[in-house]
Amino acid sequence: MIIQSVREILTTQGRLSTPLSELREDSDLYHAGLTSLATVGLMLALEEEFDIEFPDSMLSRKTFGSIESIVDAIEALQD
């Protein structure tokens, strides 16, 4: 399940101030404390886990703004 792995990676890499259990799939991760530097750790872990590579065009706040958008991005890259 992509979403479960994303949640696990967010727990270890996101350095969020809101507990992950309180976040919905569309909750704003930046409001939950995600920083741009933590985003890099998150991306590296996602690339490793899913064997994908994020192109420069996807390196923006929009891609990593919510669990939902991260899952969408991974699915798009796996196609």
């Binding site: 101030s17 930046y30 404390g33 741009s36 994020f54 390196l59 923006s60 929009k62």
Partner: protein, 395 residues
């Protein structure tokens, strides 16, 4: 976001010649005193008020000049030629104006404030850094403590440039007492809504007229005084690019003035002995080429940013590539200013090292060394090097 219509090029050229006149007649004659006494350049800022330059970035339909970033950067550059502190204060004020213009759009409160800014030429200071967060603008400890539609706010700010002399203050804080440290709002406060308790003075090597002392800010306000957009967006779309472009532009002005001093020196020497050009003449050619690099870097970034604003694509600003390029501009310009002033000093020789010589470059050099430290280059490079783990730069 606001798309700017630029002033016609003829009237902008006329405006720049007015800025140069004020620079020669008011700003430059006061620059040494401002520097020596580490005092606010009140004559210079008043002169800019008379030219209505404090609202230059406010759109024409709201009574401002409607200048774009390219033109504002040009004004900063020209001011930098006469007094680094005045130019820095003007740039810092303009950064705050850009945040209001570009992110206050739907707020009737901000819109009526912009009317006041135009008619009263109010000067805005900024309190973003906070004691205890180590210079990271994207974190706040202090929070807006809500009470109905009002709020209280106390912030320990290690630096508020020209805090005492500003008319208003823009300040960052957590959205409310439960918010994450990165969940910040940007708040506009009027002078009668806050008090400043001094915690440190400003007796620095350069940019002495910016009076960048530290204060504890105690404020009350209304909810409508918070900009509607999250501070994260305001920072990436406006404050970050606007700051590094206007700072680079004013550093360029300081550097260009140093090169001009070197040119005058060489010319002076050449006149005395036409047969034998001064040994330092070749260095003038060398330093001019470095200056051109600095000028080109700044111009490219300003034009790039102006284009992005015109395209009205808020998402584009959060792309890593844009942030990296803006950071590169700051790091490079802050190094080139030291290089250029240093090379100009080699040309002018010991007279540039003297405080009492007409070829003195002492203030230029002291100001130049501040550039790498205001938002420390190492912090920026560390940030970029992390982003570069992901960003490939292949467009």
């Amino acid at each position: 976001m606001q798309d700017h219509e630029s002033l016609s090029s003829t009237s902008f050229i006329a405006l720049i010649s007015e800025v140069r006149r004020v620079g020669r007649e008011i700003i430059e004659p006061n620059a040494s005193d401002v520097d020596e006494k580490s005092r606010f350049p009140s004559e210079s800022i008043d002169a800019l008020r008379k030219l209505k330059l404090l609202s230059a970035y406010v759109p024409e339909k709201q009574g401002g000049m409607g200048l774009g970033i390219v033109q504002v950067a040009k004004i900063c550059e020209v001011l930098g030629r006469y007094c680094g502190s005045t130019a820095m204060i003007y740039a810092m004020h303009k950064i705050q104006v850009a945040c209001l213009v570009q992110h206050g759009g739907q707020s009737s409160y901000i819109s009526s404030y912009l009317d006041k800014l135009v008619s009263e030429q109010r000067l805005i200071a900024s309190a973003t850094t906070e004691i205890g967060i180590g210079g990271d603008l994207r974190s706040s400890i202090c929070a807006v403590e809500r009470d109905g539609s009002s709020f209280n706010l106390i912030k320990k700010a290690p630096v508020i440039s020209y805090g005492v002399d500003a008319d208003d203050l823009m300040i960052t804080a957590r959205r409310d007492s439960d918010a994450a440290k990165s969940d910040q709002v940007h708040v506009l406060l009027h002078k009668d809504q806050y008090s400043l308790e001094p915690i440190s003075d400003w007796d620095a090597l350069g940019f002495r007229g910016t009076c960048s002392a530290g204060f504890i800010v105690t404020a009350q306000g209304e909810d409508e005084q918070m900009l509607p957009a999250p501070f994260a967006d305001i920072l990436s779309q406006s404050m970050h690019p606007f700051a590094h472009i206007t700072w680079s532009a004013l550093w360029l002005g300081i550097a260009a003035d140093a090169v001009n001093m070197a040119r005058k020196f060489v010319k002076n020497e050449a006149k005395r002995n036409l047969e034998m050009p001064p040994i330092s003449a070749i260095r003038l050619g060398e330093v001019e080429s470095v200056l051109q690099t600095m000028r080109s870097n700044t111009a490219v970034a300003a034009a790039d940013y102006q284009n992005m604003l015109a395209q009205n694509d808020a998402e584009a600003f959060t792309n890593f590539g844009f942030g990296i390029r803006i950071n590169n501009l700051k790091v490079t310009s802050s190094q080139l200013i030291v290089d250029i002033v240093g090379k100009s000093m080699l040309i002018c020789g010991i007279s540039s090292y003297r405080n009492d010589s007409k070829f003195s470059l002492c203030r230029h050099l002291r100001d130049a060394y501040g550039a790498a430290l205001m938002v420390n280059n190492d912090r920026i490079l560390l940030h970029n090097s992390t982003l570069l783990l992901m960003h490939k730069g292949d467009g």
